[in-house]
Symmetry: C2
Subunit: 428 residues, 2 copies
């Protein structure tokens, strides 16, 4: 369907472009320096967790269920931290390792383990020639970078409103033994905000991979990160696996990076008993034992899943108005032009925006020129290659509401001007 600019006469379009260029010039003259690029909590959000910093003290009991917090030991993490992580993910604490502050680091170490030592007694991925990893796209660039770093071929799989295209996933996973894994953010996916439907989760759990060393990397980064009154429900992948009579198929990851403090939260991984034992043994070579004061502080501060959910409602109160502002500004600015679509998630950190074919790079570049930094166009696709150059990731959490409004005004003008110019080119 042609968009509003494509329906204009040549004269109308020229006049519209001139008007938009004038608006752009006026914005440029403001000398703005705004940033909608990064999925970072705002200072108001990190301030919510400041009371956690008062919980450790020189006079306190430095044990957790009999385990010394202040010395070596507890390679799987403190018992309390494992239980907290297990509650967040809805799994058995016996299958949880809490280690470090970065779930991306745990994902990297798991990929690296498979690459150098192999999974479940199979040949290391690094010795199997060219192997492939499926990348639901648009998706998270840092996931894609890890597998690309180990020379794997990242294969994009389209994301739909219910999750990845499972017909394609099944076809690739079940027919091709060089397909070794898939990156998933199953709830409030980065950047679409999509939560996988029960049918999609069940389809994952019932995969019959051609490769015995195929694993699903289930990065449940936003498992409790709802900002709407009513959040999305994600079927527990391990329940779905049990239903399907499967095991040894999923590594699940999580962290409190966006619950308490980015880079200073606790990170965790869970898997089947056999898979987690294998990771435990590998980690046993790499680490002595994890940092346990941060774990203790988290146990004391968040306590349990109810504590986490109560804390996340405070985040929601801060985050929600920002996402509402994105919807309002985009609807007001672009709603009747037919040039763009965007997602309206109930949680997570991003809005995924699609402009006209061939527009994303130009929009990001023009916005930068007008003082607004966005995630580089293409970043949401493996290798940075968005096949239609349409997708832009909007990260509205970090700026203040005022800055966010100003940034969105710039963004709307950039989208309109680029779209109008594209329509003009088409006419020529």
């Amino acid at each position: 369907m042609p968009n509003a600019y494509e329906l204009m006469s040549e004269a109308e379009l020229s006049s519209e472009i001139a008007s938009l260029e004038a608006q752009a010039e006026a914005l440029r003259a403001k000398g703005l320096k705004l940033d909608m690029a990064r999925g970072k909590p705002s200072p108001e959000q990190t301030a919510l967790s400041r009371p956690m910093l008062d919980l450790l003290s020189s006079t306190m009991d430095l044990t957790d269920e009999g385990v010394a917090v202040d010395n070596y030991g507890a390679p799987d993490g403190l018992p309390g931290a494992r239980r907290l992580a297990a509650q967040i993910l809805g799994v058995d604490p016996a299958n949880v390792i809490v280690s470090g502050s970065s779930s991306l680091n745990l994902m990297h170490d798991t990929v690296a383990h498979a690459y150098t030592h192999g999974i479940a007694g199979n040949k290391p991925w690094g010795q199997q020639g060219r192997v492939k990893f499926l990348c639901p796209s648009p998706g998270y660039d840092r996931h894609f970078r890890v597998t690309a770093y180990y020379g794997m071929e990242n294969v994009p799989v389209p994301m739909g409103p219910d999750g990845p295209d499972m017909a394609m996933v099944r076809q690739l996973v079940e027919s091709d033994p060089t397909v070794k894994g898939i990156w998933c953010v199953p709830k409030y996916a980065n950047p679409t905000g999509v939560t996988y439907s029960d049918a999609v989760v069940r389809a994952f759990a019932s995969l019959e991979p051609a490769a015995p060393d195929f694993r699903i990397f289930w990065d449940n980064a936003y498992v409790v990160h709802t900002f709407a009154d009513e959040g999305d429900d994600l079927l527990n992948i391990y329940d779905a696996l049990a239903e399907a009579g499967k095991t040894d198929l999923v590594y699940e990851f999580g962290s409190t990076a966006k619950v308490t403090f980015p880079s200073s939260g606790i990170a965790f991984v869970t898997a089947s008993p056999a898979d987690i034992k294998e990771l435990r043994d590998a980690f046993g070579v790499m680490h002595v034992s994890p940092e346990k004061f941060t774990q203790l502080a988290h146990v004391l501060y968040l306590r349990d899943l109810d504590g986490v959910l109560a804390h996340m409602r405070k985040h929601a109160a801060i985050v929600r108005p920002r996402f509402e502002l994105v919807q309002r500004k985009l609807t007001e600015g672009l709603g009747d032009l037919g040039v763009a679509t965007w997602t309206n998630p109930r949680g997570g950190y991003f809005v995924s925006f699609d402009g006209p074919e061939g527009s994303a790079k130009a929009i990001v570049s023009l916005a930068a020129d007008l003082g607004v930094k966005l995630t580089p166009a293409g970043a949401t696709w493996p290798g940075g290659l968005d096949p239609h150059d349409t997708n832009i990731r909007i990260a509205p959490t970090y700026p203040s509401l005022e800055d966010l409004g100003a940034a969105l005004d710039v963004f709307v003008v950039a989208v309109k001007l680029v779209s109008a110019r594209l329509a003009q080119k088409k006419n020529v």
Copy 2:
């Protein structure tokens, strides 16, 4: 030279063995459960750093030289933490990365980087066929495990009173391009307590490796861990490199695991500008950014090198009597028998003990039988293979003085009984 038991008549020796067996039985009857196995600070030592837990608070400024502590960013670590680490190692903060709480983890990640991606544009170690790593022995088992884990051939190099046998090191490193690295604990080495002499450090700095991707892994774990009035001086390896006109040869590692809290300290790595840039790029794929609250607490608590040294004197007051007790008990119990030698270090965490040829496994086993756990015999050699079965690592820091004394009494009886039985066998 024959030892005292070997000089005894058959009858004398039989009677001595009977007497030692009676002593052993009396000790066994006590049902002791003591542990001299692990290089762990005692609870009194970790208690020294408890005031650090009071330094972070909900109302404090959460920036370090303008860098946000409570959000993403600062992938190389907080500026203050990098400066503190640089002072501890005596290097330029610009070449320091502070990340995580485990220097073993940084060493692992560096070996893994070389194995999967190669150093300085060379082929990954993992694609070069069989490669070798030099292991001064006795040495640290967890070092040896890392390189063994990546399929490298760990080649033992004898440790002398001034450091590794540098003639052998030079010959191997300069003639064999499959030799890719060497594990060093240059100060108060684990387990000998040896500090490398200036000549040894200079010999390291002037190596002309056959392999362009050869690196020295300089684990300066005990750089400030002196417990004597006057400690050892270690020549700065980077000064020696500058003197020799060399660069890109040494990765140096350190941590505060045994300054503040095991597993909850800060860990750091430094190298030449080119080598550290390469690690920074590799770590950039693996991590988002390091845990920074722990870093801030360390900066506030330790402040600078003077603060570290003052803190280490408090450790020394606790540790020194334990090492003195080891010397006294061993001298009193074994001094005139000629069956054993042991080191008398001025810092670090271990005493290295050598009994008669073929005695170590039997001593460790007998001591365990009598209620005293020691590091497994052989652990200080690559693959756990002590060629003469003589070496035992004594770790005196964790037990109380009373427990340590009781454990040493058991150890002395075990050494005597095993030595006497070996003498008896020889006579037969």
